[in-house]
């Protein structure tokens, strides 16, 4: 086959996949083979296997356009959106392993229980505008928030976060996804809540030791650590330990009030 055709993925070949199958009790990698099509992504291969070889293969997906964030899995050990990962970008001479996200309890096969994330989100008071807000926002502020709001909630950053994955501190740290959710609120010029204390306490930002694993796997290319977590850490440090900043921030704080439990609104059950 021509090099050009190979580059464009236009030659059909057979690829081997090792897909993790099982449930919370046990499981292991199972071998499959698929005939590839040009430009095929991992999700295409998994769905073809599901259609023709393993009809009870559990996999979560929806948009197949890298916009909904449903189909995150560990492909060759790396958290990836299956719909965005082309087979011809993976080493051709080795089988492709596909495993569920490891930080969350497995439901079955490639599907994990990510409901913890929805519980965390409920603990974050929604945007609460300043009472006197004039609805004028600059494009610079918009761009800053927009980077975080690009998040498609694939939860792959949560999956690789050491605090969650290796240390299991789900009760003490909200994880990178919700650090950037908090960053988008904290950096909203019209948000009326002072969230710095809760970012330090309940949300547990101090547990992040900035290994940037979250940033590396973000399919949206969000600079989670550099643009989100580090600035929040700095704001917290300034607040708590810098006497000059304490004074300078007083005006800001006056403009933002302490959150109360009422800011969370009536409880919703997400299950």
């Amino acid at each position: 086959m021509s090099t050009e055709a190979m580059d464009r993925g236009e030659e059909a070949v057979t690829r081997k996949l090792k897909i993790w199958r099982g449930d919370v009790t046990s499981g292991g990698l199972v071998d499959f083979e698929v005939q590839t099509e040009p430009g095929m992504v991992v999700l295409d291969a998994v769905l073809e296997i599901q259609r023709s070889q393993a009809p009870d293969l559990a996999v979560r997906w929806n948009c197949k356009a890298a916009k909904c964030g449903s189909c995150g899995a560990e492909v060759n050990g790396r958290p990836s959106l299956m719909c965005k990962t082309r087979l011809d970008h993976l080493a051709a001479d080795e089988p492709i392993t596909v495993e569920p996200l490891q930080a969350f309890p497995v439901i079955r096969d490639l599907v994990t229980d990510v409901s913890w994330n929805y519980e965390v989100n409920k603990k974050i008071a929604p945007f609460t505008p300043k009472p006197d807000a004039e609805w004028l926002i600059g494009q610079e502020d918009t761009d800053r928030m927009s980077e975080f709001r690009k998040c498609i909630e694939c939860f792959m950053c949560q999956d690789v976060c050491h605090v969650l994955r290796d240390h299991g501190l789900f009760s003490r740290y909200y994880g990178p996804r919700f650090m950037i959710r908090l960053a988008s609120l904290e950096m909203h010029p019209l948000d009326g809540l002072d969230r710095i204390e809760m970012i330090g306490d309940e949300a547990g930002i101090g547990l992040c030791n900035i290994t940037k694993c979250c940033t590396e796997v973000c399919p949206e290319g969000i600079h989670i650590t550099d643009n989100g977590i580090i600035p929040l850490k700095e704001r917290l440090v300034d607040r708590r330990y810098d006497p000059v900043m304490k004074i300078l921030q007083r005006g800001r704080r006056n403009n933002r009030r302490k959150p109360t439990p009422e800011d969370l609104g009536p409880d919703s059950r997400v299950s």
Partner: protein, 575 residues
Amino acid sequence: MAIEQHDYDVIVIGTGGSGLRAAIAAAEAGARTAVICKCLLGKAHTVMAEGGVAAALGNVAPEDGWQTHFQDTMFGGKYLNNWHMAELHAKEAPDRVRELEYWGAVFDRTPDKRMSQRAFGGHTYRRLVHIGDRTGLELIRTLQDKAVHSGIDVFMETVITRLIKDRERVVGAFGYRYPTGEFLAFSAKTLAIATGGAGRIYRVTSNSQDCTGDGYALAYAAGAELVDMEFVQFHPTGMVWPPGVVGLLVTEAVRGEGGILRNSEGERFMERYDPKRMELSTRDVVARSIYTEAKEGRGSPHGGVFLDVSHLDSEYVKKRLPSMYDQFYELAGVDITKAAMEVGPTCHYFMGGIRIDGETGETIVPGLFSTGEASGGMNGANRLGGNSLSDLLVFGRRAGIGAAEHANATPAPELPEQELADAEAEAAGYLTGEGSEDPYKLHRELQAVMGEGVGIFRDEQGLTSAIGRLEALEQRAANLRAPSSRPDYNPGWRLCREVRNMIMVSLQIARAALMREESRGGHSRLDFPRYDEYWSEHNIVVCDRDGEMTLEARPVIKWDGLTELVEARQEAERV
């Protein structure tokens, strides 16, 4: 064994924009509210919307106002729209967008720090509020974050297979938890269908896998009427290569930002089809033009045409169209700042849907409401880009209030046991019954029938043949069985019911398309290429009469106070 049951005042099926907006409104109106979705919260098809929300804020074009937005919508819909719905939509969209901003949505700004607005096909002025090319995600996330702090219960990954009725009234729904297969019964004083469209009846579609027309079929089975089903919007620009992403949307914002369409001869062919609006003509016109160019041998290597932004500044393209840049770079290996994209039409949106009273979202079935793409009337024969996000906000809120007010005046219903038992028997039958038809196979056959006979261009012969094949599929669908019989996370099981829903919707579309002997908006008949006087005044309504699918032509619902605006626009178009 007793089935797990949940009781609410209002239940909304669907957590796209309109479902979430309806649930928020219902909860605010004091109703105990739940929303049910097949996917996880925040993953509904609304996340795919790219271009923006149409609202005549006048931030960029001060001369804009609801009247012009109304006129544009009517012109886009070729005057088959429900006039009053188009009016409510144009009048209320600005408030709904401002409200989103109060709830934390972040949109691109003008230099004077207000919400910016971009140009889009069919809109007279720059009207679409947007954030880059991911406006739908912004809507979903804003509404999701609002909803989970509004006391709304969310049933994720829950499949509804039937609405439950007590005599004439809808009183609940039956379904199961997808991850476990446990059956669930829901009772509701009122129920709102917000299940979106049915793009998956076509192979080439921009729609998520969830878009299987469940709501159309559930409502029809419960006795509701559907309107304008023949009008299917093929978005002009979907990806045509590689095979795995065929149909994937290429936002209209690409053309809004200055993208140029060319054929294989390098010709800017829109000059021949709509010299006035060019690339920003309405979607039906651009889709037909691209289809014709490719069909007549002037297409791109993979059967589309070229869409080019490489003449624009590359940093500008990356900033204004970031997800398009990524999408082509990652999936097709094309750098759109240097090379042209290959694009072709893709099934995108259903103008038709459940017939409702626009003010309240109420259907003709007591207790049943609908909103968003699942409902019909607002868009007429063709929807303008940007009008779906505004539609779902305006009518989502209205349906939520309508459903809550109705629920507040209704006693708690009982679920009739026989109805539940029937629903359970049907669902269980797909798993353990005697059926032999494979849902995956039927689905592929259905897509082939729809692509061949009920696509962009239609004629009597093709439609008649398609209807015959659909009827045969319908028969076979009575004999479906999932390839695996385990109940937990079984996609084949889910697809059994979805395929039946999709066949039902396809029949509605094909029969309505055969009945409408003219070409208008999203419906093009090769054998009737022009407007027809009679059909310019009539909508087609589909309903069940004693078990028979019945189609009726009914006069367009006009509104006295709007005649002047409509006539002024018609006059202007003639000149």
